[in-house]
Amino acid sequence: MSAAVTPALARLRARYGRPPETRVLVHRGTCGDAVDAARVLEAVRAALGTRGVPLVETACDGACWAAPSATVVRPGHRHRFARLDRAPVDALVSCLDGACDDAYAGSGARGLLARVGFLDGSLADALAQGAYRALAHAVTLKPAEVADAVASAGLTGRGGAHFATAQKWRLAAANAGPRVLVVNAEEGEPGVFKDRHVLEGDPHRLIEGVLVAAHAIGAARAVIYVNGQARNARRALDAAVAQAREAGLLDGSALGGTGAEVEVRSGAGGYVCGEESVILNSIEGERPVPRLKPPYATDRGLFERPTVINNAETLCAVTTVFDDPPPPTKLVPLSGAVPRPGLYEVPVDGATSWAGVLAMAGANPQRVRALLLGGPSGRFVLPEEFDAPLEMRGLGAGGVVVLPQEADIPRITSALAAYNARESCGECTPCREGTPRLVALLEDVPGNRARIDALIEVMTEASLCQLGGLAGKPVASALALFPRDFEAAR
């Protein structure tokens, strides 16, 4: 159950109309286009002939493993046809005719991903599938009440730090305006591809979350900072912002509230650019290096103004806080040695474990040596932990690579350490000097063990930001969990 449709939202929906529900979706986007979904599109077009069923080019629905794929949607029925590079498209046609059982293989719960891969790119379709319902409700509440709803939903930052979202909002709102909202959609952590899926597939989800947050914070300006390589995400977001502006969603004229001006900026690479104070420097035209804290952004952030910096997924999750109950889900981009790699929306409900996630991805836990959780800032998870219920705080940004039994742990560990050394911005000594030395020390772990431990401690305690602060984490984790792998010098 979600919030009721307000009269203003009903008027907006009526103005835009409702696209036909029955359609054939060809999933293109970055995933599909990397495996020649354009050819599938032509094959599907030919198979449909003159049937007059809308053929919609849309984004990946999270089932990256299925690409190139197409989905038939008719009332009460969804059926995804996977790997159409090696299967005929004729089955789609019989499915349209009703000769088919519902066989939609989902990617876990669908809260944030509910519309991803099902939209035709128009605002009308997004509205028809539920977009802006949370905003329509939020603007009928006082800003503090919106923050209260976010607090009671228990929402925490999905970028990895899992700080209480409502608390951050309240800290900024307590300061005199003008206030700013900055959206971290930089997503530069290797192995993480969640925000770009949501932005490509359902950009209005983020815009809605931005507008709800702006209302709660009292921010008249929002800047969305998008990863520079995520060009399809940027394109989809630009189009959606233009649609939202034209509809009167940004200035508050469509649904009420004061609205916020939304600006989209692109990054240009660099893992450190996911660090929130680096984003502020980047937007201001300064060198992309971290700032010393305090002052905290909520006091003095972008252009010295009180600033809330939220991860894109966090703001997408804000659109679900009025649901009863709010789905406590985490987007988990999962890759590596599994039959069905892709983007999963995992319920963090006290019941779901890694075993459950691996089952969704079709993995045989017997063949899994470990999970790499959180890439170059993360840790390894052994099979002993697979049955324990997942905790939001332990998930970081959510990126998981499944490592097979034969995985070469020292090689992976060294590669992660080398990545951190390449990406260090050089602003602080512990990280600038420590990351390359860690790489060198890993050449002979038995001989250097004490120095490795000491170096990691210094980097953890004294680095200016979490790139250096967490650079030792995967190394420490590997050495603790796989000591025998490191017994011989490499």
């Binding site: 495996v35 520079g228 650019c273």
Partner: protein, 157 residues
């Protein structure tokens, strides 16, 4: 489909025209320091990389010293300050691609394939990137060799 332009070459006849186009793109950005990165990206979008005259144009437009523009530009891995090789492909060597055999792809074309960090298409590993920045997923060594010879032929045509 995303695709970057052929890298700017000062010796080709269209060079003045492309540089003028880059200048227009730079000057379409607001004339203020926060436009530094957007202006650099706009220039690179036209030219495929950032030759010194383009960097100087950005510096003059946003009123930031050239030295400071370089200090900033070198901090972003996606800004290219040298002309990219129009025949070079990149092989992703992120953990998922490494597990899926990125090394075999690198071995398949030692002269033209270079390593690159995670391309965020991990579920379709192994991943390669062509000289125009198009991504290809689940690539086999044979397929990679075929694509390489196709682009070489394209470049000669």
């Amino acid at each position: 489909m995303s695709e970057s332009p052929l890298p700017f070459d000062a010796s080709t006849p269209d060079a003045p025209q492309r540089m003028a186009e880059a200048a227009r793109a730079i000057e379409a950005c607001a004339r203020e320091k926060p436009s530094l990165l957007p202006a650099l990206l706009a220039a690179q979008h036209v030219l495929g990389w950032l030759p010194r005259p383009a960097v100087e144009r950005v510096a003059a437009w946003v009123r930031v010293p050239v030295s400071e523009v370089y200090a900033t530009a070198t901090a972003y891995s996606e800004l290219r300050l040298e002309r990219p090789d129009p025949l070079a492909w990149h092989v992703c060597t992120g953990v998922a691609c490494d597990l899926a055999g990125a090394d075999a792809l690198l071995d398949a074309a030692p002269a033209r394939a270079r390593r690159t960090d995670c391309q965020f298409l991990c579920a379709l590993a192994p991943v390669v990137v062509d000289p125009r920045e198009r991504l290809y997923g689940r690539v086999t060594a044979d397929e990679f060799r075929e694509r390489l010879s196709a682009t070489a032929a394209e470049a000669h045509a």
